[in-house]
Protein backbone atom coordinates (compact mmCIF):
# COMPACT_ATOMS: atom_id res chain seq x y z
CA UNK A 1 0.00 0.00 0.00
CA UNK A 2 2.75 2.43 0.91
CA UNK A 3 4.53 1.77 -2.37
CA UNK A 4 1.50 2.82 -4.39
CA UNK A 5 1.02 5.90 -2.24
CA UNK A 6 4.69 6.74 -2.64
CA UNK A 7 4.40 6.55 -6.43
CA UNK A 8 1.33 8.79 -6.40
CA UNK A 9 3.01 11.29 -4.09
CA UNK A 10 6.14 11.44 -6.21
CA UNK A 11 4.08 11.93 -9.36
CA UNK A 12 2.15 14.78 -7.76
CA UNK A 13 5.34 16.43 -6.56
CA UNK A 14 6.88 15.99 -10.00
CA UNK A 15 3.91 17.68 -11.63
CA UNK A 16 4.20 20.51 -9.12
CA UNK A 17 7.88 20.86 -9.95
CA UNK A 18 7.11 21.00 -13.66
CA UNK A 19 4.48 23.69 -13.14
CA UNK A 20 6.81 25.81 -11.06
CA UNK A 21 9.54 25.31 -13.65
CA UNK A 22 7.17 26.62 -16.29
CA UNK A 23 6.64 29.72 -14.14
CA UNK A 24 10.41 29.98 -13.76
CA UNK A 25 10.86 29.91 -17.52
CA UNK A 26 8.06 32.25 -18.56
CA UNK A 27 7.93 34.51 -15.52
CA UNK A 28 7.30 37.96 -16.91
CA UNK A 29 9.55 39.64 -14.38
CA UNK A 30 12.50 38.83 -12.20
CA UNK A 31 10.59 38.61 -8.92
CA UNK A 32 8.33 35.93 -10.40
CA UNK A 33 11.40 33.87 -11.11
CA UNK A 34 12.63 34.41 -7.56
CA UNK A 35 9.33 33.17 -6.16
CA UNK A 36 9.45 30.21 -8.53
CA UNK A 37 12.95 29.29 -7.36
CA UNK A 38 11.80 29.49 -3.75
CA UNK A 39 8.88 27.18 -4.46
CA UNK A 40 11.18 24.80 -6.35
CA UNK A 41 13.49 24.56 -3.34
CA UNK A 42 10.58 23.76 -1.02
CA UNK A 43 9.23 21.17 -3.46
CA UNK A 44 12.64 19.55 -3.72
CA UNK A 45 12.73 19.26 0.05
CA UNK A 46 9.28 17.69 -0.10
CA UNK A 47 10.46 15.14 -2.67
CA UNK A 48 13.46 14.25 -0.53
CA UNK A 49 11.35 13.89 2.61
CA UNK A 50 8.83 11.72 0.77
CA UNK A 51 11.63 9.54 -0.58
CA UNK A 52 13.09 9.24 2.91
CA UNK A 53 9.71 8.21 4.26
CA UNK A 54 9.23 5.70 1.47
CA UNK A 55 12.63 4.06 1.59
CA UNK A 56 13.44 4.49 5.29
CA UNK A 57 16.75 6.18 4.52
CA UNK A 58 17.05 8.68 7.34
CA UNK A 59 20.25 10.18 5.95
CA UNK A 60 18.34 11.87 3.19
CA UNK A 61 17.03 14.30 5.77
CA UNK A 62 20.44 15.92 6.05
CA UNK A 63 20.30 16.78 2.36
CA UNK A 64 16.79 18.15 2.90
CA UNK A 65 17.90 20.44 5.71
CA UNK A 66 20.83 21.68 3.63
CA UNK A 67 18.54 22.46 0.71
CA UNK A 68 16.15 24.33 3.00
CA UNK A 69 19.02 26.49 4.28
CA UNK A 70 20.45 27.18 0.85
CA UNK A 71 17.04 27.93 -0.65
CA UNK A 72 16.19 30.50 2.00
CA UNK A 73 19.58 32.19 1.78
CA UNK A 74 19.42 32.22 -2.01
CA UNK A 75 15.97 33.79 -2.03
CA UNK A 76 16.93 36.49 0.46
CA UNK A 77 20.19 37.28 -1.32
CA UNK A 78 18.56 37.40 -4.75
CA UNK A 79 15.76 39.71 -3.62
CA UNK A 80 18.31 41.86 -1.78
CA UNK A 81 20.26 42.36 -4.96
CA UNK A 82 17.07 43.09 -6.87
CA UNK A 83 16.14 45.70 -4.29
CA UNK A 84 19.59 47.29 -4.44
CA UNK A 85 19.32 47.41 -8.20
CA UNK A 86 15.95 49.08 -8.01
CA UNK A 87 17.19 51.76 -5.59
CA UNK A 88 19.89 52.93 -7.95
Amino acid sequence: MLNVVMKIVLVLLGVALLLSFSRLIRGPKLQDRIVAVDLIAVLTVGVIVAAAAGTGQQFLLDAASVIVLVGFLGTVAYSWYVEKESQQ
Binding site: L2, Q31, A36, V49, W80, E83, S86
Partner: protein
Protein backbone atom coordinates in the same frame (compact mmCIF):
# COMPACT_ATOMS: atom_id res chain seq x y z
CA UNK B 1 2.31 -0.78 11.92
CA UNK B 2 -0.75 -0.63 9.76
CA UNK B 3 -2.00 2.50 11.51
CA UNK B 4 1.34 4.20 11.04
CA UNK B 5 1.31 3.28 7.35
CA UNK B 6 -2.19 4.64 6.93
CA UNK B 7 -1.26 7.86 8.67
CA UNK B 8 1.90 8.14 6.61
CA UNK B 9 -0.01 7.63 3.37
CA UNK B 10 -2.67 10.13 4.39
CA UNK B 11 -0.26 12.87 5.37
CA UNK B 12 1.99 12.29 2.38
CA UNK B 13 -0.98 12.50 0.02
CA UNK B 14 -2.29 15.65 1.68
CA UNK B 15 1.14 17.24 1.56
CA UNK B 16 1.64 16.35 -2.10
CA UNK B 17 -1.79 17.71 -3.02
CA UNK B 18 -1.06 20.96 -1.17
CA UNK B 19 2.28 21.27 -2.94
CA UNK B 20 0.54 20.69 -6.25
CA UNK B 21 -2.00 23.37 -5.31
CA UNK B 22 0.87 25.74 -4.60
CA UNK B 23 2.34 25.04 -8.02
CA UNK B 24 -1.05 25.48 -9.71
CA UNK B 25 -1.52 28.80 -7.96
CA UNK B 26 1.99 29.70 -9.04
CA UNK B 27 1.01 29.15 -12.65
CA UNK B 28 -2.52 30.50 -12.69
CA UNK B 29 -2.51 33.53 -10.41
CA UNK B 30 -2.07 36.82 -12.22
CA UNK B 31 0.22 38.83 -9.96
CA UNK B 32 3.57 38.41 -8.27
CA UNK B 33 2.09 39.01 -4.81
CA UNK B 34 -0.69 36.50 -5.33
CA UNK B 35 1.76 33.91 -6.60
CA UNK B 36 3.96 34.62 -3.64
CA UNK B 37 1.23 34.14 -1.06
CA UNK B 38 0.08 30.96 -2.81
CA UNK B 39 3.55 29.48 -2.82
CA UNK B 40 4.36 30.63 0.72
CA UNK B 41 1.25 29.33 2.44
CA UNK B 42 0.45 26.23 0.46
CA UNK B 43 4.03 25.05 0.18
CA UNK B 44 4.60 25.59 3.90
CA UNK B 45 1.55 23.59 4.90
CA UNK B 46 2.28 20.94 2.29
CA UNK B 47 5.84 20.50 3.48
CA UNK B 48 4.63 20.35 7.07
CA UNK B 49 2.21 17.57 6.14
CA UNK B 50 4.97 15.72 4.30
CA UNK B 51 7.22 16.01 7.34
CA UNK B 52 4.50 14.70 9.67
CA UNK B 53 3.91 11.78 7.32
CA UNK B 54 7.61 11.03 7.28
CA UNK B 55 7.73 11.27 11.07
CA UNK B 56 5.12 8.50 11.31
CA UNK B 57 7.35 6.29 9.18
CA UNK B 58 10.80 7.23 10.50
CA UNK B 59 10.29 6.72 14.21
CA UNK B 60 13.93 7.14 15.12
CA UNK B 61 14.74 9.94 17.53
CA UNK B 62 17.42 11.51 15.34
CA UNK B 63 15.10 11.40 12.33
CA UNK B 64 12.30 13.07 14.23
CA UNK B 65 14.68 15.75 15.48
CA UNK B 66 15.82 16.46 11.95
CA UNK B 67 12.26 16.54 10.68
CA UNK B 68 11.30 18.93 13.45
CA UNK B 69 14.29 21.12 12.69
CA UNK B 70 13.35 21.24 9.01
CA UNK B 71 9.72 22.06 9.85
CA UNK B 72 10.70 24.79 12.29
CA UNK B 73 13.14 26.33 9.85
CA UNK B 74 10.65 26.30 6.99
CA UNK B 75 7.90 27.80 9.10
CA UNK B 76 10.27 30.51 10.33
CA UNK B 77 11.80 31.38 6.98
CA UNK B 78 8.85 31.16 4.58
CA UNK B 79 7.25 34.41 5.89
CA UNK B 80 10.65 36.06 5.95
CA UNK B 81 11.46 35.18 2.37
CA UNK B 82 7.97 36.17 1.25
CA UNK B 83 8.31 39.50 3.01
CA UNK B 84 11.71 40.20 1.49
CA UNK B 85 10.55 39.31 -1.99
CA UNK B 86 7.42 41.44 -1.59
CA UNK B 87 9.47 44.40 -0.43
CA UNK B 88 11.83 44.05 -3.35
CA UNK B 89 8.87 43.79 -5.69
CA UNK B 90 7.28 46.93 -4.25
CA UNK B 91 10.52 48.88 -4.33
CA UNK B 92 10.90 47.88 -7.91
CA UNK B 93 7.73 49.76 -8.74
CA UNK B 94 5.60 46.79 -9.67
CA UNK B 95 1.95 47.62 -9.78
CA UNK B 96 -0.70 45.43 -8.26
CA UNK B 97 -3.01 43.33 -10.33
CA UNK B 98 -5.75 45.43 -11.90
CA UNK B 99 -8.38 43.34 -10.14
CA UNK B 100 -6.98 44.03 -6.69
CA UNK B 101 -9.54 45.69 -4.45
CA UNK B 102 -7.27 46.95 -1.65
CA UNK B 103 -3.81 48.43 -1.67
CA UNK B 104 -3.20 48.72 2.04
CA UNK B 105 0.49 49.40 1.74
CA UNK B 106 0.32 52.64 -0.18
CA UNK B 107 3.76 52.59 -1.60
CA UNK B 108 2.67 54.00 -4.94
CA UNK B 109 2.66 57.68 -3.78
CA UNK B 110 6.14 57.18 -2.37
CA UNK B 111 7.39 55.41 -5.45
CA UNK B 112 5.40 57.53 -7.90
CA UNK B 113 7.50 60.66 -7.27
CA UNK B 114 10.63 58.60 -7.75
CA UNK B 115 9.29 57.13 -10.92
CA UNK B 116 7.76 60.44 -11.89
CA UNK B 117 10.85 62.36 -10.93
CA UNK B 118 13.15 60.20 -12.94
CA UNK B 119 11.03 60.39 -16.10
CA UNK B 120 10.41 64.09 -15.46
CA UNK B 121 14.06 64.79 -14.96
CA UNK B 122 14.88 62.70 -17.97
CA UNK B 123 12.08 64.37 -19.87
CA UNK B 124 13.14 67.84 -18.81
CA UNK B 125 16.71 67.06 -19.74
CA UNK B 126 15.62 65.70 -23.05
CA UNK B 127 13.36 68.67 -23.67
CA UNK B 128 16.14 71.03 -22.62
CA UNK B 129 18.52 69.34 -24.97
CA UNK B 130 15.89 69.37 -27.67
CA UNK B 131 15.01 72.99 -27.01
CA UNK B 132 18.66 73.96 -26.87
CA UNK B 133 19.44 71.93 -29.94
CA UNK B 134 17.36 74.04 -32.36
CA UNK B 135 18.54 77.26 -30.72
CA UNK B 136 22.23 76.50 -30.48
CA UNK B 137 22.87 73.85 -33.06
CA UNK B 138 20.86 75.33 -35.91
CA UNK B 139 22.63 78.73 -36.04
CA UNK B 140 26.09 77.16 -36.44
CA UNK B 141 25.07 75.32 -39.61
CA UNK B 142 23.72 78.62 -40.94
CA UNK B 143 27.01 80.55 -40.59
CA UNK B 144 29.10 77.60 -41.64
CA UNK B 145 27.89 77.90 -45.25
CA UNK B 146 28.91 81.57 -45.01
CA UNK B 147 32.56 80.55 -45.14
CA UNK B 148 34.14 82.00 -48.30
CA UNK B 149 34.59 78.89 -50.44
CA UNK B 150 31.12 77.49 -49.96
CA UNK B 151 29.07 80.61 -49.34
CA UNK B 152 30.13 82.40 -52.52
CA UNK B 153 28.17 80.04 -54.76
CA UNK B 154 25.35 80.29 -52.27
CA UNK B 155 25.36 84.06 -52.67
CA UNK B 156 25.34 83.69 -56.43
CA UNK B 157 22.51 81.28 -56.22
CA UNK B 158 20.66 83.62 -53.92
CA UNK B 159 21.37 86.51 -56.22
CA UNK B 160 20.39 84.49 -59.26
CA UNK B 161 17.36 82.98 -57.70
CA UNK B 162 15.36 85.55 -55.77
CA UNK B 163 12.45 83.16 -55.82
CA UNK B 164 13.67 81.56 -52.65
CA UNK B 165 11.52 82.58 -49.68
CA UNK B 166 14.57 82.44 -47.43
CA UNK B 167 15.45 85.99 -48.29
CA UNK B 168 15.77 86.73 -44.61
CA UNK B 169 18.93 84.66 -44.57
CA UNK B 170 20.44 87.03 -47.11
CA UNK B 171 22.60 88.66 -44.42
CA UNK B 172 24.70 85.53 -44.62
CA UNK B 173 25.60 85.89 -48.33
CA UNK B 174 27.17 89.36 -48.01
CA UNK B 175 29.48 87.96 -45.39
CA UNK B 176 31.88 86.26 -47.82
CA UNK B 177 32.20 89.37 -49.94
CA UNK B 178 34.43 91.16 -47.46
CA UNK B 179 37.71 89.45 -46.74
CA UNK B 180 39.05 90.66 -43.38
CA UNK B 181 35.81 91.60 -41.61
CA UNK B 182 34.29 88.28 -42.60
CA UNK B 183 35.06 87.07 -39.11
CA UNK B 184 33.03 89.87 -37.61
CA UNK B 185 30.26 89.30 -40.06
CA UNK B 186 30.42 85.58 -39.56
CA UNK B 187 30.25 86.36 -35.89
CA UNK B 188 27.24 88.54 -36.60
CA UNK B 189 25.78 85.99 -38.94
CA UNK B 190 24.68 83.63 -36.18
CA UNK B 191 22.86 86.43 -34.43
CA UNK B 192 21.19 87.39 -37.67
CA UNK B 193 20.36 83.81 -38.37
CA UNK B 194 18.94 83.51 -34.87
CA UNK B 195 16.94 86.66 -35.42
CA UNK B 196 15.65 85.30 -38.66
CA UNK B 197 14.81 82.02 -36.96
CA UNK B 198 13.09 83.90 -34.20
CA UNK B 199 11.26 85.99 -36.72
CA UNK B 200 10.14 82.92 -38.55
CA UNK B 201 9.28 81.34 -35.26
CA UNK B 202 7.31 84.38 -34.19
CA UNK B 203 5.80 84.86 -37.60
CA UNK B 204 4.67 81.28 -37.77
CA UNK B 205 2.24 81.36 -34.81
CA UNK B 206 0.14 84.21 -36.25
CA UNK B 207 -0.04 82.38 -39.54
CA UNK B 208 -0.94 79.16 -37.79
CA UNK B 209 -4.04 80.52 -36.04
CA UNK B 210 -5.14 82.09 -39.30
CA UNK B 211 -5.29 78.75 -41.04
CA UNK B 212 -7.94 77.30 -38.76
Amino acid sequence: MILSEILTAFFLLVGAILALLAAVGMVRLPDTFLRMQASAKASTLGLACLLVGAAFQLTDVSSIIRLGAIAAFVMLTAPLSAHVVARATLRRGTRLWSGSVLNEYEYEPASAPERASSPHSAGSESTDSESSAPGSLHPPPAPRPSSPPSAAPDARKDAGSPQEPTSKTDPAPPAPEGGPPSSQRSALAPALAEESLEETATSDPPSAPERP
